[in-house]
């Protein structure tokens, strides 16, 4: 088996490999979904903290001038926007949406990560470490969802392509850089919350006999 790390993600995968190879020690799907939800919860928590940390020293500079959420590179993806809609979406579609959003952030997170190191912001080291943590969680979660979706069928495995076209350079001057950084973080916060919500709805639906998981 792959080297075991403390991180839940690796354990997640190892558990899944158990399922594949050894039926007796199979990890139930509920358990995998639970772990995935915990990871997405952590991601959402981190992105929330990041936006708060940015705001603490960077009061919204002309909120009106900031790019709108509609300008997020993932906004083209049609997602449920309230509870009723979310409860009507099929499990496969929920999984596909979560995976598409997760995949869409691989490149931008890398851009954020490199930019954070030289960010003109007093908390840049704390911000930088949170972004790295986000990247790790994102990777682990993506791996886990790959395996989960494999159990759910082809429609769960379909990923919508949402390319990030913002480039690797956030700008030249301090204001532009901070604005762009802030904007990306707000998009990330929104998308990480979507991923978290969809996975938790999925988890609750899969655990019909265990209401405490909801």
């Amino acid at each position: 088996m792959a080297q075991r790390r403390i991180s839940g993600g690796k354990l997640f995968i190892t558990g899944e490999m158990c399922t594949a190879t050894d039926g007796e020690r199979a990890v139930p799907v509920n358990d995998l979904l639970d772990r995935a939800s915990q990871r997405s919860d952590k991601m959402h928590s981190l992105s929330t903290l990041l936006t708060q940390e940015m705001d603490s020293h960077f009061p919204p500079y002309g909120r009106m001038q900031m790019p709108r959420p509609a300008d997020c590179h993932t906004s083209a993806l049609q997602t449920p926007n309230d509870k009723e809609q979310a409860l009507q979406v099929s499990e496969s579609d929920l999984m596909s949406l979560a995976r598409s959003l997760l995949q869409a952030w691989v490149d931008p997170l890398a851009v954020l990560s490199t930019s954070a190191i030289t960010l003109p912001h007093p908390s840049k080291s704390s911000i930088s470490s949170k972004i790295q943590e986000l990247q790790e969680h994102s990777k682990s979660l993506a791996d886990g969802l790959d395996i989960l979706s494999g159990k759910m069928g082809p429609s769960a495995q379909a990923i919508s392509f949402l390319p990030y076209t913002g480039g690797t350079d956030l700008g030249q001057d301090r204001v532009t850089i901070l604005n762009k950084f802030n904007f990306l973080l707000s998009c990330l916060r929104r998308d990480s919350h979507k991923i978290d919500s969809f996975l938790k709805v999925l988890r609750c639906r899969a655990a019909k006999l265990q209401p405490e998981l909801c």
Binding site: R68, P69, R190, S197, L213
Partner: protein, 515 residues
């Protein structure tokens, strides 16, 4: 008459002025509303409030229009009433999460209007649930100490059954007269057992919740609980009860104990008759008393396969503790000296013996300076010159012969390159307890021999040793089991210690010797 006309004129003028003034101050369009805030209690609906500006003295109407991120059309607020004055309530049908709302509030009166635009980036930013409800506390008085069973329920309008919402709770408890709260993160459960309470004190507790990493709710109602004083006492209390409250009953018991103490020898004979001691082959009980523990050890371990050694032999059989000095060897001449035999004990068995570690790069001859009796052994043992060492045979206490290969010296530093220790193959049997353990400064976790042997590098020449029948084992300790076997030199350069637990080298150990 003149005065009356004057007064009337004056009154009219005043009236005109007043009415003109009144007309002047009321004629203005309203100011635009300011301060816009919203709140969602359950991630399904939300309300927004604005603060009206000046109304210009005329009845002013406020209307809210909004667009959503995905909607092209402009809509008007669906409900101006449910959330109170100057508010707009968006019900489930009109609430979209993760969508941007652009709100425009227009104030209108007879003379004009004014508007202001407010942007709600995401309703989630305004989520703040109601506090938890039905908070109850029960004092549980069961052993060993009392605790508070605190329970609560999620706020009623939050739907926790579908997974759409994740509630997390926080509890805080404090003594009634204390200023500091003890706060506990709860997760998603709706109960908690709080143990840090003491009898006779009054406690208060509150709970709050947050939804999906949003804002915390207000604290719930405070609940109070008093721990009764006659709860089951803790151990300390019990002892105090024993001593303070039950003196009278214990007096006869104390007297009995006193008598027993006086006659303890008799009692001992009665209750604990002497048990015949164990008979160990080769062990003479008198040896124990005579203090020559080296005999004891030899008798215990002399002829037997020391289990760890037997297990190690496959890996470590190639390692022999060899000295090139007669003085160090287990000869008859040693019998009269106490400090010549070296007993090396697996690292796991410290035996409380003092271990001195030195970097082997240090001149090993200076390793021990505490004892004259150690000098000779030390110099021999630490004399690390590769030589061809003759096998020597010696008689020992138990009359068995022991072949000892003289100790190699620098070979311990450079064993892998040791080409000349072919004579080791002659050693068929080593009947003594000479074990050398090469250790790090500290023995981390009592690594036992099993672990150690994985670290040992095996010079080719040692492989010729067929059998090591006693405790002559050369063990080397590595940093961790994960590391591959490395050349001895580099291992040693890391500060490995040459540890020998031998009578002569240990300050406090017993003196072992073999006759």
């Amino acid at each position: 008459m003149y005065n009356a006309r004057m007064r009337t004129h004056l009154g009219l003028v005043i009236l005109c002025v007043l009415s003109a003034a009144r007309v002047c101050s009321s004629t203005s369009a309203p100011e635009s509303p300011r301060k816009f805030d919203c709140r969602s209690r359950e991630k399904e609906t939300f309300s927004c409030w604005w603060e009206p500006g000046s109304d210009g003295g005329l009845p002013t109407e406020y209307r809210l229009f909004y667009t959503q991120e995905r909607l092209r059309e402009v809509r008007e607020c669906p409900d101006y009433v449910s959330a109170g004055a100057n508010s707009c309530f968006f019900d489930k049908k009109h609430t979209s999460i993760w969508a941007e709302y652009t709100m425009t509030v227009v104030a209108t009166n007879a003379l004009g209007n004014a508007s202001e635009e407010f942007r709600i980036t995401d309703v989630m930013e305004y989520v703040k649930p109601d506090p938890p409800v039905n908070v109850t506390v029960v004092v549980n008085s069961s052993a060993p100490s009392p605790f508070l069973e605190i329970r609560w329920k999620s706020p009623p309008d939050v739907d926790v059954r579908t997974g759409w919402v994740t509630l997390k709770y926080e509890l805080r408890v404090k003594q009634n007269d204390s200023k500091e709260w003890k706060t506990v993160d709860i997760g998603s459960e709706t109960f908690f057992n709080f143990y840090n309470v003491y009898p006779g004190l009054l406690y208060m507790a509150q709970v709050r919740c947050k939804l999906d990493h949003g804002k915390w709710s207000e604290w719930s109602n405070t609940i109070f609980a008093e721990i009764p004083k006659n709860c089951k006492p803790t151990v300390v209390t019990e002892i105090s009860f024993f001593y303070l409250d039950h003196q009278v009953e214990k007096i006869p018991l104390l007297m009995g104990i006193y008598i027993l103490l006086l006659k303890r020898n008799v009692v001992k004979q009665c209750l604990l008759p002497p048990v015949p001691g164990p008979k160990i082959k080769g062990l003479n009980a008198h040896l124990l008393k005579s203090g020559r523990s080296e005999d004891v050890v030899n008798a215990l371990m002399g002829n037997q396969n020391f289990p760890p050694v037997a297990a190690w032999t496959e890996q470590v059989e190639d390692f022999l503790l060899v000295s090139d000095s007669d003085e160090w060897l287990l000869t008859d001449s040693f019998a009269s000296e106490k400090n010549k035999d070296i007993f090396i004990i697996p690292a796991g068995l410290h035996l409380g013996l003092e271990i001195q570690c030195r970097d082997l790069s240090v001149d090993l001859n200076t390793w021990e300076k505490t004892d004259d009796s150690k000098e000779e052994a030390k110099s021999n043992f630490l004399n690390m010159e590769p030589i061809n060492l003759p096998v020597e045979k010696h008689e020992f206490l138990n009359g068995e012969e022991m072949s000892i290969q003289p100790l190699a010296n620098t070979s311990y530093v450079d064993i892998q390159q040791h080409p000349t220790l072919t004579d080791y193959s002659r050693v068929k049997e080593v009947n003594d307890n000479t074990i050398l353990i090469l250790n790090e400064e500290e023995i981390p976790h009592g690594l036992d021999a099993e672990e150690v042997k994985s670290e040992v590098s095996v010079p080719d020449d040692y492989s010729r040793v067929k059998e090591v029948n006693s405790d002559v084992v050369f063990l080397e300790k590595g940093d961790s089991a994960d590391k591959p076997i490395m050349p001895l030199e580099s291992e040693l350069s890391k500060g490995f210690c040459l540890k020998m637990i031998a009578s002569g080298y240990v300050d406090s150990g017993p003196a072992f010797s073999v006759k």
